[in-house]
Symmetry: D2
Subunit: 272 residues, 4 copies
């Protein structure tokens, strides 16, 4: 299992395929394992790099609280150590927050920035949602945690259509999630609490593509539009009939959008 | 304080003004007190009747679990006891669910049916949201309960604009809500779990008006459209820029819609 | 037939009922006759005043081009002559443009301002749509005029559901519309070409209610939101599943919104 | 200039690049020339085939009226003559209608079907819009034609932002469009009048991707959703802030969607 010791912590990563690198930054409850169904498509023409943030998946847990900047520095060092110069950086939700911070600090390392279902500001409602999640996590009870979080993640149609899968998943939460996972989750939530970089986004000049989802009530399309307005020449598409976890509910649309943009990010379309 | 003993329980009600009766059924966390700002406008040309369901406000608490049909029977008996023959029945969220059930059983008592931000089916997501609320309520901790529920109630703009008021309210939860309130709340949530009357709605023939709100992620406009499609000739308007608690976030629009419909519900507009 | 000679032109009007006056200003292709189905509901508790602008319905035709300010002055004089001090002013589309201009000049005569499917600016697209309509009108051919205008007025569902009525209407255009009607129509279109009062709207302080329609592609909900943003404390509701002619496609929702607002425009709802 | 004589008519086409073939079918007022800005991006990894339908661009004019099936047969023969077995077929608006018809008849020739801003049914409103366009075309006057058509093509923001370009284009209509162009345009419009294949779409089993645009009032997103519902496993994305000519208003988003889908159309994403 490939890991690199960075800043005293083991960071887990996977590399698949060859080509312009695509790096994917997970949403808060995700891990490299979440991307298994996408590996084939994303690594066909590209070097796909999956990583677990600290406190996620197979990366080390932290002992102290950190901010998202810590992830940014680890990422930058990871790229150094892997001798990767420039990447397409894809960030989902929490991962999109880190991706924006990375772009603000290390934009020269980006071929393009691709943001999906994310925000540039932890507003008061997101802060309270996070507090609710923390309280649920601190019960260390899988079912309590599941009921407190899932309705924010999926659309109601997906929920209704996949209730058996969700029920199985709820059970698995009780079995597989250990106290240390919940403690890590709480630190991840806290690391996003001070996010407020909307006004800085205008500094980002790298080609940027933004993906929103029609029924994302956690980071609604309005949030994606707010980011688009700030980042010059950034592009936006919307996935219909999907909740916050668009990559999960609509994998084809998500994959088409991401891979399509990596093919045209440096092109000129002089229409007028 | 006017109360009537119905089915062994004291039901609290208030009556204001004279005219065609308008009865308002509360959302699950509301009470008659929530309507204070509306009394003047709603009672000017109408007899406004506010009530607390059992387990709400100043009505008695229950000892055993019940279904929403119990509310229906209490309401019907209340109208008998007050010698009120026909009413405009306005139901908000949970109250809208009871209002639909009432219309299915005692339609002859309705002048019109007005539904706001409600559903005819407790889908799997709503069920899980309810379970999450129950788990939070069972901590008897105001702050835990607040964080678990409020993000589902208000739009993010309202949340952001009124954070000081919300913070005060969170504090007041800790002080004013007692264990028996939370126990009542849990029973109210449970009483809605089996709601599934979508297919019966086509039986409703009374003039029906439905109010949705653009950013209601709990009972989205799609839910309101589903109800509209089932109830023949029912009408629908949407309040922009509001979350689930439309009567709270946009009181003017809500009041205009309700009072407007009570003025034209029996008119014919032969356009074609 | 009640007419008053104002500024050298006969202005046709109708008065129905008693109460706080409601004055309705027609859309460009409408006339007092369009409101027949609404007279009963609107005059029950109010003095309903319907008028034809010059170049509309039974009012005189003009010989020279004018601006919308001419309508404003005629209206103001009409109210003087009828001894009407203050009114609820309801404007539909073109009539909403005149209503906004009236509010900017004679706000002291308004109890409230109610705008439906209108704009504060004849943007370049609206200008070109108008030019297209003028070119079609100048053929004096009913069918050419019908095909050039109707798709901008109705939603596609209404169009599909009422195609027989529309076909009859197309035929009637050929029979009943005379050359002088088309010449009047052209002058009405031209009188709106310079409309650009968005920046002045912030001067309006009278209670204002705005009605948009989901599928209004001519003056989309975005236009209504732009007006709302400018007029302090103005309120907005949206009628679902309707095109530009919301009063025609959804008469109940339209009437409920208008009459509802006239009942609460001067109320206070102190929620927070 | 490459042309092939098919069914007695010269069909103009262009081929750029190598790889899995992508064939683009024009919207009604477009031609191969419209795609110039896209050639670079679309031919980098694919064989891009652009064509002009008869009565379009550099293909021959017709003398008699035809139906869209005629285009289907010409296309099929073109592929035979060029020894092209299977293609990604991309259809825009009118071209999307032909693409659906082609899929219904020659599905075995498709790798994938990509539909943008199109319809499967010429509803009554589209029929009347078409009639209005025909009446304007028959004046042979560039300005009349421009005012009758452009407001249906672009979003109002694009219109406002690009008014100088539009004004130039209006002038060029008067200069460059000859009587025979207008006659061809009229035949093209008429060839779509009987389109009504919604119920047949369920036969299409080839991977299908549909692109809608938020402010497309001519073939609204609802139309795209109707198509999606009928074609099993078809995917849909929506381009924000664009009118009917999405490839023109939002070329990056359009190109990313099309090229992205050609990269993943045959992949499996087993999520659940």
């Amino acid at each position: 299992m490939p890991k690199l010791l960075i800043k005293g912590k083991n960071m887990f990563y996977e590399i698949h395929g060859e080509g312009e690198p695509i790096v994917i930054l997970n949403g808060i409850m995700m891990s490299t394992a979440s991307w298994m169904p996408f590996i084939d498509a994303f690594s066909k023409n590209n070097k796909l790099i999956l990583i677990d943030f600290v406190d996620q998946g197979k990366s080390d847990k932290m002992e102290v609280q950190y901010t998202q900047d810590f992830h940014v520095e680890m990422l930058n060092e990871l790229f150094d150590r892997l001798n990767i110069e420039k990447v397409h950086l894809v960030g989902i939700s929490y991962g999109g927050e880190v991706a924006q911070r990375f772009a603000l600090k290390y934009e020269h390392r980006l071929l393009s920035l691709i943001l999906s279902n994310t925000t540039s500001y932890t507003n008061r409602m997101l802060k309270d949602i996070g507090e609710g999640w923390i309280k649920a996590a601190e019960t260390y009870d899988g079912s309590t945690f599941f009921k407190a979080t899932m309705p924010y993640i999926y659309s109601r149609k997906f929920y209704e259509d996949n209730i058996h899968w969700l029920t199985e998943r709820e059970k698995s939460f009780g079995v597989s999630l250990k106290q240390e996972w919940y403690d890590g989750f709480v630190r991840l939530v806290r690391s996003a609490e001070d996010l407020n970089i909307t006004d800085e986004l205008s500094k980002i000049k790298v080609p940027t593509f933004i993906i929103g989802a029609e029924y994302d009530a956690t980071t609604p399309v309005k949030n994606q539009e707010k980011i688009q307005k700030r980042i010059e020449n950034s592009k936006l598409i919307m996935i219909k009939d999907s909740g916050h976890a668009a990559m999960y509910e609509k994998p084809y649309e998500f994959a088409a959008a991401v891979l399509g943009f990596t093919r045209i990010y440096d092109k000129k379309f002089k229409i007028l």
